[in-house]
């Protein structure tokens, strides 16, 4: 084995230490909760796995659940590489969704040709929306954690207003008009149930994010600002510009996620709309160590849990919401550096933690 390969494997192994411990502990806790509800954890967990990957339909459901999370996970990861915490995925996704719901209907007569146009519009609105906290930080020093949280509520309210007032249509569920079937993202078929080609788009987005961050000059600058703002500034890379760009690019990713949900899954924006995809994107990004490949894996895990939960609720009487508890516990533990040290000793923390702390600094 070449030295380079060995180093890459050790690195990858190190990167997995935190997520694996978090997942393991959350499943042990989950088993205790299942026991407390008077069910057998083995039965519950085997139903969970069956519901996640046990059949083509189950796999399709997992892919369907993972798709928006890849987008919102990338939204967090790209910003994170610049040392910024984007909690605004939820609002950015809503902005993308309402853009797609509006333009999808307007351009629907173009058929499949409208799909790239609509998604491009999502990129633009998401980019502009994501740039707001970037400008507020670069120009006024307003902390992005607070502004992105606030912008979540503003974005959700704005999208809700548009869907309920100007764009509202007659129907049982309040919301916008349905988009023509020809202008929606088609189903994959292959027995995968309702899974659509949005998943492939998400994979493409992950590759784009990777190329952008590691193969372009701008990506190098963004990562440099994240690793050491002072040094990056000294080297003449504008911190302000890179801050704005990292958050704006993140916003664009989350917004495409919203667009894909509308074009691929719902065909319109209803109120209430899907919730927590932005927040779960944070967990996905952290599990994936803010690397696009990791984001895909994290999203598949989250998607699989959500899909498996339905089967678990069906065949035991463990409520569906258990998986939300599991996800929260995973998220809670995934950055707990001292916990890893306590469990595995200082060397494990040094191996696993070095890169994490740089990302979080």
């Amino acid at each position: 084995m070449s030295n380079r390969l060995r180093r890459a494997l050790v690195d990858a192994g190190g990167a997995l230490v935190f997520p694996l411990i978090a997942i393991l502990i959350s499943f042990v806790l989950g088993a205790l909760i299942v026991l407390a509800t008077g069910n057998n954890p083995l039965t519950a967990y085997s139903a969970l796995v069956r519901g996640a990957v046990g059949s083509p339909t189950a796999i399709g459901r997992t892919l369907l659940g993972a798709t928006p999370l890849i987008f919102t996970g990338l939204a967090v990861a790209v910003a994170f590489r610049a040392g910024l915490f984007n909690i605004g995925g939820e609002g950015q996704l809503y902005i993308g969704a309402i853009t797609a719901a509006w333009l999808g209907v307007t351009l629907g007569s173009l058929g499949a040709l409208s799909i790239p146009l609509v998604l491009l519009a999502c990129v633009v609105t998401g980019f502009l929306w994501g740039a707001i906290p970037g400008v507020l930080k670069a120009r006024f020093g307003a902390h992005e954690v607070i502004t992105t949280i606030m912008l979540n509520f503003i974005g959700i309210n704005l999208a809700t207003y548009l869907a309920l007032k100007p764009l509202r249509t007659e129907g049982l569920v309040p919301g916008t008009d349905a988009i023509d079937f020809a202008a929606r993202i088609p189903f994959v078929g292959l027995g995968l149930g309702r899974a659509n080609y949005g998943f492939l788009l998400a994979l493409v987005a992950a590759v784009v994010a990777y190329l952008l961050l590691w193969r372009t000059r701008r990506g190098f600058q963004i990562r440099a600002v994240g690793l050491s703002p002072g040094a990056a500034n000294y080297a003449g890379m504008g911190i302000g510009t890179n801050t704005v760009l990292a958050l704006a690019i993140g916003g664009a990713f989350a917004a495409i996620g919203g667009g894909v949900e509308v074009l691929g899954v719902y065909g319109k924006m209803t109120i209430p709309f899907v919730t927590n995809l932005g927040f779960n994107g944070i967990g996905v990004a952290l599990l994936g160590r803010n690397h696009p490949a990791g984001v895909v894996l994290g999203a598949l895990l989250f998607g699989g849990l959500a899909s498996g939960a339905q089967e678990m609720q069906f065949s035991t009487d463990v409520p569906l919401q258990l998986t939300n508890v599991l996800l929260a516990v995973i998220l809670l533990l995934v950055t707990a550096t001292k916990l890893v040290e306590l469990l595995l000793g200082k060397r494990a923390r040094a191996l696993a933690g070095a890169r994490l702390e740089k990302g979080l600094g």
């Binding site: 909760i33 509800t37 915490f85 909690i87 507020l136 930080k137 120009r139 006024f140 020093g141 307003a142 902390h143 954690v145 607070i146 502004t147 949280i149 606030m150 912008l151 509520f153 503003i154 309210n157 704005l158 809700t160 207003y161 309920l164 007032k165 927590n276 927040f279 779960n280 944070i282 967990g283 952290l286 409520p319 919401q321 258990l322 998986t323 939300n324 508890v325 996800l327 929260a328 516990v329 998220l331 809670l332 533990l333 995934v334 950055t335 707990a336 550096t337 001292k338 916990l339 979080l360």
Partner: protein
């Protein structure tokens, strides 16, 4: 104007009712953040306490037991946050986000386990209004301010108490110092970790008062996700009030007024969705105007590791 907003007294009363949970949570966030621990989990702390209070009332029929349940739940979740942030040196923002998701998922899970179905819990006996003699008979202001739940009166008291504790006691001095300069506190022989545990624990207890007021002061039942962003508005009030109890309470009142108007204004004038944005827009404006970073406790967000 009266047709739009009701009698001035009603609008004032509604402002107070909407501001009360925000004031409690903001004061709680103050203790935590002054000790150097960001607490964006206020939303979750309120939610879990709102639920625990209703469970307590459901099981016992007693408001006192309900309050005990709420305080215990708020404290428990706050201690989880402290354990993660202080002992395990986890990222405070992530831990707070996780606390919010844990509360949302946990209450959803427990609704099914305890009450057999999700959505809304059975109605419980709430905290009734207790008019204060004499004060409540002042025209207009009296019924609005002094014919409220006991928790509202407690809120009036907690604002000066928090101010006094933070700025006039040795404990408050240490707590503030821990948020500003943990190294100095450590050198002085005070445990940074312990001060932060106190700060976060107090935030849990205060946020739980806000939570139980929502479920048992305003509604007399628990509804999934009923906090609906109020924890974040409280956080906004804290920032808007520049980490000062009086300022935060003032900001919470302003946001409470915005919420009161939201519930009353007719849709044709200003759509409800835009009114609901007001606290969030105000916060962003305030952050931009004040320059954000300069005001927060200096060591906020950073785990402290003794070298």
């Amino acid at each position: 104007m009266d047709e739009i907003f009701g009698a001035p007294g009603q609008l004032l009363a509604s402002t107070i009712r909407n501001a009360t949970p925000l004031v409690f949570a903001a004061l709680g966030g103050m203790f935590s953040e002054r000790s150097g621990v960001v607490n964006i989990g206020l939303e979750g702390l309120m939610l879990i306490s709102a639920f625990a209070g209703v469970v307590g009332a459901f099981l016992s029929g007693s408001a006192v037991v309900a309050l005990g349940f709420a305080l215990a739940a708020g404290l428990l979740f706050a201690l989880i946050h402290a354990l993660m942030c202080v002992t395990f040196e986890a990222d405070q923002i992530i831990s707070g986000t996780a606390i919010n998701l844990l509360a949302l998922g946990g209450t959803g899970f427990l609704m099914v386990s305890v009450f057999g179905s999700g959505g809304t819990s059975p109605r419980v006996e709430g905290f009734g209004e207790v008019p204060i003699p004499l004060l409540s008979s002042i025209p207009v202001v009296g019924p609005a301010l002094f014919s409220q739940s006991v928790l509202v009166y407690l809120m009036y008291v907690m604002v000066p108490v928090t101010f006094f504790v933070l700025f006039r006691t040795p404990f408050g001095l240490r707590l503030r110092a821990t948020g500003e300069s943990p190294e100095a506190v450590d050198t002085a022989g005070v445990s940074v970790g312990r001060m932060r545990y106190y700060g976060v624990a107090l935030s849990g207890l205060l946020a739980s008062l806000g939570g139980i007021y929502l479920s048992m002061g305003l509604l007399s039942a628990f509804t999934e996700g009923m906090t609906n962003g109020r924890g974040f508005i409280a956080l906004a009030a804290l920032i808007f009030g520049r980490w000062n109890p009086i300022g935060a309470a003032g900001a919470a009142l302003l946001f409470g007024f915005a919420l009161a108007v939201t519930f009353r204004a007719p849709q044709e004038v200003i759509p409800n969705e835009f009114l609901q944005m007001i606290p969030y827009v105000l916060t962003i404006v305030a952050l931009a105007a004040f320059g954000g970073r300069a005001i927060a406790p200096a060591a906020i967000g950073k785990p402290y590791r003794k070298e």
